[in-house]
Symmetry: C2
Subunit: 150 residues, 2 copies
């Protein structure tokens, strides 16, 4: 696997929220059903997403979570950073001996290409695409409470 379990969870949770009408609050317990993420762990992940200002939260009755901005303006890279799932700049992950731009290690090139590809993907993928796919594809279970009502 490329991404950690937590990173996958974060993407899944954000995606589930993105399929809702903008601004609508969704409870963590509803997200549990639609995402299959362990309840208590989901809370922690949501917290991190709130701290990263990707989500806003509302306590108390009728509270819940919502995107902090339109889905099209939330890129996957931001989600990955929020859960610390993207390598910091300047570090060659293959870390073979000393390695900087002056004295690159023999694995610097391959690593660089991999990182660039993943980053490009994460930079250019937004939650809007997910929301679109879900809309287009209403076979998916949506956590809107009474989805079939209409």
């Amino acid at each position: 696997m490329f991404l950690s379990q937590t990173a996958e969870y974060a993407i899944r949770a954000m995606s589930a929220i993105a399929t809702l009408p903008p601004g609508e609050l969704v409870r963590a317990s509803d997200l549990v059903e639609s995402t299959g993420i362990p309840p208590s762990y989901l809370s922690k992940i949501l917290r991190r997403l709130v701290l990263a200002e990707l989500l806003v939260s509302q306590k108390g009755k009728n509270g819940g979570f919502a995107l902090s901005r339109p889905a099209g303006r939330i890129r996957f890279i931001e989600i990955l950073y929020a859960v610390n799932a993207f390598p910091a700049e300047g570090r060659c992950a293959f870390g073979w001996g000393l390695c900087d731009s002056v004295k690159p290690c023999p694995l610097h090139g391959p690593w660089r290409r991999l990182k660039d590809r993943v980053q490009d993907w994460a930079d250019n993928t937004t939650l809007a695409e997910v929301a679109e796919a879900a809309k287009f594809d209403q076979r998916v279970q949506l956590p809107t409470g009474k989805a079939s009502g209409g």
Copy 2:
């Protein structure tokens, strides 16, 4: 991080071996120095690489490890498979509800693109590139014992 620690170690170890003259055996203890991988754990990883037939090993005095074939014919994807670091076919890693080609989950598209990119990278990167970089860049410590003895 995209790749597990073990996957990184495997790539590093293979790369270190690839910088040696073809056919030359290198001891695990030498690889420890050049790669910085914990000794006892390196043995385990080398074992897996032997089982995957990416390396050949020789027991006893003057024994060691060597590539099973030319560096240019060992792709990174094979290394990743050897240490079980690449997702099996057919599984949507984001695993959001049911997901197959007929009923793709909303994250199927993004996931597919990511996987394709990583796979393309791993398919088209071989140890030859690493060996070239190391040759071109002799500032790197090579585990050849007496590298300076020319």
